[in-house]
Symmetry: C2
DNA sequence: CTACCTGCAAACTTTTTGCAGTCAA
DNA sequence: TTGACTGCAAAAAGTTTGCAGGTAG
């Protein structure tokens, strides 16, 4: 349901990016995290493995991976966060746990049921349900 | 449908806040704007009327007004924005124009139709439709 | 070998805080 | 009069950029 470490590095090398040790670790981190990570989370995790790591490199890699479509950037009220792109190809929405920030798919899409006046040209929509998952309530 | 200048200043003075000239102008600005405003927008508009205006006062007032429930703070991909709270008391959602950022109500709420597993405890939800309104397309 | 990647330092943007003078009620 | 409001200055937090040396392919 989410991209794997191998899929991520494959996509990156296919685009001509160098697969450094750091990027491998980054790919692994995201592939194994089901929740959202802040740049700070990433920096702290990576810092344990690479002394002298700098914040700007983290930012640069997050941005590159986002532009490739490997990562998804979401703006929450408390800041920007990243997560691996869903491997699930169909259009879907998410329930998001306010505690652990894991996401669960919702296949139902309200858009076809929404009555939009002809004069309004719809470009995109957002439907998200927030709450607590069974492990966190 | 949106709060008026008078309603806004009334709410503020009822809470013991001083109604300064600057706050009156702020109330008027928001009452007459149907779209979202960034702190920078507000600073620039207010700056035309008050030379020597400082950014921190704008932030302080925005935050106070938000805490009183006069303003609504929304985080967009390109930053934080504010708009007057809807006077409409019923639960509703919005269509938001990507150009002028005006909002239009949607009475339909998808939540009752959404199949949420029992283990997930829903706290809140977000449903927003983005596109172009008839004036902007 | 060469273009890409990284760390360092510094700049930049956005937001917050302490302080002292000013003003609404 | 008095506590709240404001501008100023500075700090804090988050993010971006230029540069020079290092490394994957």
């Amino acid at each position: 349901m989410l991209l794997t470490t191998e899929q991520i590095t494959k996509i990156m090398s296919n685009q001509g990016l160098r697969i450094t040790d750091q990027r491998k670790t980054l790919a692994k981190l995201f592939a194994e995290s089901s929740g959202y990570l802040t740049p700070k989370d990433v920096y702290e995790y990576m810092g344990k493995h690479y002394s002298g790591l700098s914040f700007d490199t983290v930012y640069r890699n997050l941005r590159v991976m986002q532009q490739l479509g490997v990562l998804e950037q979401v703006v929450f009220e408390d800041g920007v966060k990243f997560k691996v792109h869903c491997a699930e190809p169909h259009h879907h929405h998410h329930m998001i746990c306010l505690q652990c920030e894991k996401t669960y798919p919702i296949t139902f899409c309200p858009m076809p049921l929404t009555d939009v006046p002809d004069e309004f040209e719809v470009v995109k929509h957002k439907f998200e349900v927030f709450g607590y998952c069974k492990d966190c309530r």
